[in-house]
């Protein structure tokens, strides 16, 4: 499948608090740079598909005030309620259906402007979860323990994810967390909700990302090397955490299988050079190794410990440092796509991994990874 490609992208330098920036100014910056990165102008774009959060912005139908900063006035424009990678999947459908030739995907989140845990507490339904103050961290902690217990793993197993990703993030000029940490430091960092420790949780971040997706004809004629989209998948688990087999992220597994079938991938560990996954908490990266087919169930800790997914490994996971190094909520998954596209087209700069033919971008959303999206890219 070479029907569409990612041609251009840009992300902000992610920060705990982007003083002096508005959502609009961050969006304007990444849109301008993403278009420039593939030598396009806004006139070359047929449709703008964006992801933002009414809750973070404190405005209803939040896209309406950001339309002009995206260059979307007088164009078709659609807001997707979810992560930016979901907006990218919509863009892919637009350009592969022939309805549009080019799509600009935009996602942004300014988490610094409201209390961080209230943002994910609002994911909880008002009857069964919110009265108990169950937010993303609480649901994640229950999932983490479930997973560790199922496979008899100690709480140091996910801590190694933080060590690996912070080591990688130190090379990423866009990362928010740029200092490596040792296993001892991770283990000694305070428990937020056990078994998740502070250094195993995503930071609070302000940031934005924009990506240009084009149909085959436009991509073939482009002046830059396309990152071809060869497979995608998207889906959700049941809403109630207790209604799921919580040590497994079924929606990610199904999304990956669908994407791999389209891309002709049968052994992801040997066929993917890089995976950029959304690990909001360290244990999630382990669960995702299994869901994305890098190893069997319960084998992720061993795969991580082998070094296969770290710097210099054969299948590098999160060479950008991942979500543990920057979490521009809503844009987080779209950043994974930008990083994966950069890897397969040899434009990843300081975080470039040698010889990446294929890469995968993953996003998740909701409580305990309820929503999953996957996209496979080829150079």
């Amino acid at each position: 499948m070479r029907d569409a490609a990612v041609l251009g992208w840009a992300q902000t330098e992610h920060r705990r608090r982007a003083v002096g920036e508005t959502p609009q100014s961050m969006v304007f910056e990444v849109v301008t740079r993403a278009l420039a990165s593939c030598e396009m102008t806004i006139r070359d774009i047929d449709v703008v598909i964006d992801a933002g959060s009414d809750l973070l912005d404190g405005r209803s139908t939040s896209n309406r005030a950001v339309i002009d900063a995206m260059g979307a006035h007088f164009k078709e424009e659609i807001k997707v309620a979810g992560d930016g990678l979901e907006a990218a999947i919509y863009a892919l459908m637009r350009v592969t259906s022939g309805y549009s030739s080019t799509a600009l995907v935009v996602a942004y989140g300014k988490s610094s402007e409201t209390p961080a845990r209230c943002q994910t507490l609002a994911l909880s339904d008002p009857f069964y979860l919110r009265p108990l103050a169950v937010d993303a961290l609480a649901a994640g902690a229950l999932q983490a323990r479930f997973y560790l217990h199922e496979y008899g793993l100690g709480s140091d197993a996910p801590a190694l994810v933080a060590v690996k990703n912070r080591e990688a993030g130190a090379r990423n000029p866009y990362a928010q967390e740029k200092s490596p940490v040792t296993l001892e430091e991770v283990m000694a960092s305070p428990e937020l909700i056990s078994p998740i420790r502070r250094l195993e949780a995503c930071p609070v971040t302000d940031g934005a990302c924009a990506v240009v997706i084009a149909d085959r004809q436009t991509s073939r004629a482009a002046s830059v090397r396309p990152a071809w989209i060869s497979g995608t998948g998207h889906g959700a688990d049941p809403y109630s955490p207790g209604a799921r087999t919580l040590y497994r992220t079924e929606s990610a597994a199904r999304s990956a299988r669908k994407a791999y079938a389209a891309a002709g991938i049968s052994d992801p560990l040997s066929e993917l050079g890089v995976l950029e996954v959304s690990e909001y908490y360290s244990y999630q990266e382990l669960m995702l190794y299994e869901a994305l087919g890098l190893c069997g169930e319960g084998e992720a800790a061993d795969l991580l410990a082998s070094g296969a997914t770290g710097t210099g490994g054969g299948t590098v996971v999160n060479p950008s440092g991942g979500v543990l190094c920057a979490n521009p909520l809503v844009a987080t998954g779209l950043v994974r796509l930008a990083e994966a596209a950069a890897q397969v087209s040899g434009r990843a700069g300081e975080v470039q991994v040698d010889g990446v033919d294929r890469a995968l971008a993953h996003s998740s959303g909701g409580l305990a990874m309820q929503f999953s999206s996957v996209m496979v890219l080829e150079g």
């Binding site: 404190g58 209230c118 009857f127 103050a133 609480a138 323990r145 479930f146 955490p241």
Partner: protein, 150 residues
């Protein structure tokens, strides 16, 4: 900085506060009524796959079937996961420290997210029972938390 030496405004503050009155719906309403009036926990029996879901919904999250009936489950249950909270989050109904727990109640096929005291006996596989509050209001917090049996 301006000539007067003042700083440029960095931000403006505001509040977006909305009062909601969320419709509970028939199924959730019955569940909350049973908690309040009878100290009973109800699960939804799926007409499609027969799974008993707690907390109940009017549809099945597993197979997409319709809920046939509500059936009493528990009150005993087994802890399938737990997480310790040292600092209470905003809106927490109990003081920290406490634990979040997943409880698989007897007769149920899905687990209920709820609370437990920060007691080292609260572990995976341990049997727990609900402790109901006095002065119940028809909320999931009418169960204060689940405590180890015995």
């Amino acid at each position: 900085m301006s000539e007067s030496g003042s700083l440029k405004p960095d931000q403006v503050s505001g509040e977006a506060r909305l009062e909601y009155r969320w419709a509970a719906g028939g199924t959730t309403g019955e569940f909350l009524q049973a908690l309040r009036d009878y100290r009973r926990i109800l699960g939804a029996v799926c007409g499609g796959c027969g799974m008993v879901a707690v907390p109940p919904l009017s549809y099945c999250e597993i197979c997409g079937g319709d809920t046939d009936e509500l059936r009493e489950v528990g009150p005993r249950g087994v802890v399938t996961s737990w997480a310790r909270v040292i600092e209470a989050p905003q809106g927490s109904p109990v003081e920290a420290p406490f634990r979040y727990v997943l409880v698989l109640l007897e007769g149920a096929d899905t687990a209920l997210v709820h609370l437990a005291p920060d007691d080292d006996r609260v572990d995976v596989g341990v049997t727990v029972v609900p402790e109901f509050r006095e002065g119940r209001s028809g909320a999931v917090t009418d169960i204060k938390w689940f405590v180890p049996e015995g």
